[in-house]
């Protein structure tokens, strides 16, 4: 008779999940799964709501990335009503999008992921956390808390709500950026950029080199990748086309509306989220088999860094060059999600500064006329955890008749399952394991920052 190990809750991630590892009579892994036990049902209860209310409802999908859902939603509402926001409103939305990424990246790297690397994966679980980090390095911890807080509060000062925002509205934006705010934020984000550069250098030189072996093996699987790029292939988190890359590096580019031609969803009986897959590959088949996966692709920072030809700001481009020199394109090493995230952090800070230096950013032309009508609209942005697809259909009264959502971590459900199984198989032999081993299995999940 074999044995079952239950890791629940998976910790230092967002939300509720459980890992179940099954051992055979010889104590080796016969199966391992990542289960998610939550299903709120947004696609049901958005039905009947006025289209213009959607950006204020669906931001509740995620309290860590509410801005990204808010913005994907407002783009979908614009598409339903067939309205084009004024250029300044698009810039303000893009500014908010990049501003919102910054506290999230700092949170994930320092609060959630770093305890495994700085304190070590085998460290006593009661101290393997951000409080342990604060004890080990109080000065850095205080600085991190202050920088994350200040990044969040600039957004709050400007637009009231930083969590569950309200300022993006169909046809544009609810409030302009004032000159005095622009000046103040510019100072603040110059400091953020310096801290981002410090963080990536610290990670590149002092953290990752200690874990070369783990980076090269832990939860490594072979998959494709999805992300957003501009017409010329530049990394973009607010707007562009979707790029779905095969494991060999070849890719298809397509517009948001065409997502149903490329992405299907697979349903398993043992977890609530669906598993999106690339339906043009492998004759439309789906398989989590580690040796011969079918249709599996990944989202989130590593995916975006893999699919882009370049990144739009100079310091981030330097970091991308260093990264590619070392690991090539695309790289499949799961723990490199942490590194890719920090390349984006540098890009976020630089982009915010660029936008704040754009004279049009304080324009008062921020909302176009909106007429209620029936229609369908697909809005996408990149959330830190992956591509958000919001697909709305409305009736002639502008009330939602149908919603389909494929969101950040949902894209990663299948690959997380594969990485968990791979890590468990590699780490547990002959029934021998300890809490450090189980924590390493969780590290494979944390890389995805689900």
């Amino acid at each position: 008779m074999g044995k079952m190990i239950q890791i629940q809750p998976v910790t230092r991630i967002e939300g509720h999940s459980r890992v179940v590892v099954e051992l055979d009579d010889g104590g080796n892994v016969s199966d391992a799964r990542f289960h998610v036990f939550a299903l709120r049902g947004f696609e049901m209860f958005c039905q009947g709501r006025p289209v213009e209310e959607m950006p204020r409802i669906v931001n509740r999908i995620c309290g860590i990335c509410p801005w990204n859902h808010h913005l994907a939603s407002v783009k979908a509402t614009d598409a339903v009503f067939g309205v084009t926001p004024p250029p300044a409103a698009v810039k303000l939305r893009r500014l908010a999008q990049h501003m919102a990424y910054i506290p999230d990246k700092l949170l994930h790297f320092y609060f959630l992921a770093a305890p495994d690397f700085v304190l070590g994966p085998d460290c006593d679980p009661s101290t393997r956390n951000v409080i342990g980090i604060a004890k080990a390095n109080p000065e850095l911890a205080r600085k991190v808390v202050r920088m994350r807080q200040s990044a969040a509060m600039m957004l709050e000062e400007w637009l009231g709500k930083v969590i569950h925002p309200v300022a993006a509205v169909t046809g544009g934006f609810s409030r302009p950026l004032l000159e005095k705010e622009r000046e103040k934020f510019l100072e603040g984000y110059k400091e953020q950029l310096e801290f981002a550069k410090f963080t990536i250098a610290f990670a590149r030189e002092e953290v990752f080199p200690k874990y070369t072996e783990a980076v090269e093996s832990l939860g490594v699987i072979k998959t494709g990748f999805i992300g957003t790029v501009t017409e010329d292939g530049t990394h973009d988190i607010y707007d562009g086309k979707l790029r779905l890359m095969k494991p060999d590096g070849s890719y298809d580019d397509f517009s948001y509306e065409q997502y149903t031609d490329h992405i299907g969803e697979h349903i398993e009986a043992w977890t609530y989220p669906k598993m999106p897959f690339a339906k043009k590959w492998a004759s439309g088949e789906f398989s989590l088999d580690l040796d011969e996966p079918k249709g599996i692709y990944r989202s989130n920072a590593l995916a975006r860094i893999n699919v882009c030809d370049k990144i739009g700001t100079p310091e981030a481009q330097k970091e991308l060059d260093l990264f590619r020199e070392k690991y090539g394109r695309p790289t499949q090493l799961t723990l490199l999600y942490h590194w890719a995230r920090l390349i984006e952090l540098v890009n976020n800070c630089e982009t915010v500064i660029q936008l704040l230096e754009d004279p049009e950013i304080t324009s008062r032309e921020i909302r176009s006329d909106v007429q209620v009508k029936a229609g369908r609209g697909v809005g996408c942005v990149e959330a830190p955890r992956g591509t958000l697809i919001h697909d709305y259909t409305a009736d002639e009264n502008g009330l939602i008749s149908s919603v389909n959502l494929i969101v950040g971590t949902t894209h990663n459900q299948a690959p997380i399952n594969m990485s968990v199984k791979k890590a468990a198989q590699d780490l547990i032999h002959g029934g021998e394991y300890d809490q450090g081993v189980l924590n390493r299995i969780e590290m494979a999940i944390r890389a995805y920052d689900p």
Binding site: H35, V166, L178
Partner: protein
């Protein structure tokens, strides 16, 4: 001795936990000297089934204070609530999902079977399929607030609650207090906009398809009340506090209307009934409000405020 705090999230988005972090540097003065976090899945590696995953019963550590964010959507959520109630002295419902159901309780307008059929049935990205049934915990009969499952001692509403209030409540508990509550005031009581109190003369309520009238260069005290501009704002029936201890209500700060995220002004009040009255009292045509049942109950769908409507024409 530090006060032991245990924290869980249920049918939630983790926004409440981010709001805890938004307390900022003050939190470093509390943790670990005054507060010991014994269980908080977002930050600390404490497990239900032990560190080796070989336990058979869901267990939480003992603590003085238990924080729960999120409402109850599954039988497992209910089990977590009961287990925490057993292990803590003071149970705190954190955030509007925990206090009143929150946005996910909009699902209470449908039967569970209809929700599952919609999600796993007709969809542009897959063929209709059955819903998951293996290992996943089943739904409770409806989305519940925490106090529908176990006694709650302290309510900190908000979507999310403001960090000022979370810090204030935690500090009170650290000092040994056992009670804490937000003042019973409305968002309008703390809103600085101009109200002329003229009747709208039975006008229909406008949908927010254009920006409200205001001069961005003028302070918010010069903006006219959004209700008086002819749109819906739920400030009159919503508990104040979204801006923390001082400041302009947060949605108003963004020049947007309140949608009620702090829940009713008094526990048990019905925003739907009160708001219909408030609209009529200023001469607006309350019946003209589009999608009014869902809109006026947006954050308070638990406590049977929202339930499936009987299907017309069916027996």
């Amino acid at each position: 001795m530090a006060v032991k705090v245990s924290s869980e999230w249920l049918n939630a988005c983790s926004g409440c936990e981010i709001s805890i972090l938004n307390i900022g540097e003050t939190i470093l003065d509390l943790i670990p000297d005054k507060i010991e976090l014994v269980h908080i899945p977002a930050l600390v590696d404490s497990k239900y089934y032990g560190q080796l995953g070989d336990g058979t019963k869901l267990e939480l550590p003992k603590a003085t204070v238990g924080l729960i964010s999120g409402g109850v959507r599954t039988e497992e959520h209910a089990e977590v609530v009961r287990e925490m109630r057993d292990k803590v002295d003071i149970l705190v419902a954190l955030g509007t999902c925990a206090t009143d159901g929150g946005i996910p309780a909009q699902a209470n307008m449908w039967k569970n079977e209809d929700v599952l059929k919609k999600i796993f049935g007709d969809c542009p990205t897959h063929e209709p399929a059955g819903h998951p049934t293996e290992i996943v915990p089943p739904y409770t009969d409806s989305v519940l607030a925490v106090d529908e499952v176990a006694k709650v001692d302290i309510y900190i509403p908000g979507c999310p609650p403001h960090p000022d209030w979370i810090a204030d409540a935690l500090l009170a508990l650290v000092e040994g207090k056992t009670e804490w509550a937000l003042p019973e005031r409305s968002v309008c009581d703390t809103c600085p906009v101009i109200r002329e109190k003229k009747s709208a003369g039975g006008a229909a309520i406008k949908r927010p398809l254009e920006n409200y009238t205001y001069d961005p260069d003028e302070p918010i005290e010069k903006m006219r009340c959004i209700m008086e501009q002819g749109y819906l704002c739920l400030g009159a029936v919503t508990r104040a506090g979204c801006a923390g201890k001082s400041g302009v209500p947060r949605c108003i700060q963004a020049r947007q209307a309140c949608r009620g995220c702090f829940g009713p002004i008094r526990r048990g009040a019905k925003p739907m009934v009160d708001m219909m009255g408030a609209l009529s009292s200023i001469g607006q045509d309350a019946k003209s409000l589009v999608d009014r049942r869902a809109l006026l109950n947006r954050f308070v769908g638990a406590h049977k405020n929202l339930r499936p409507l009987p299907q017309r024409g069916k027996k």
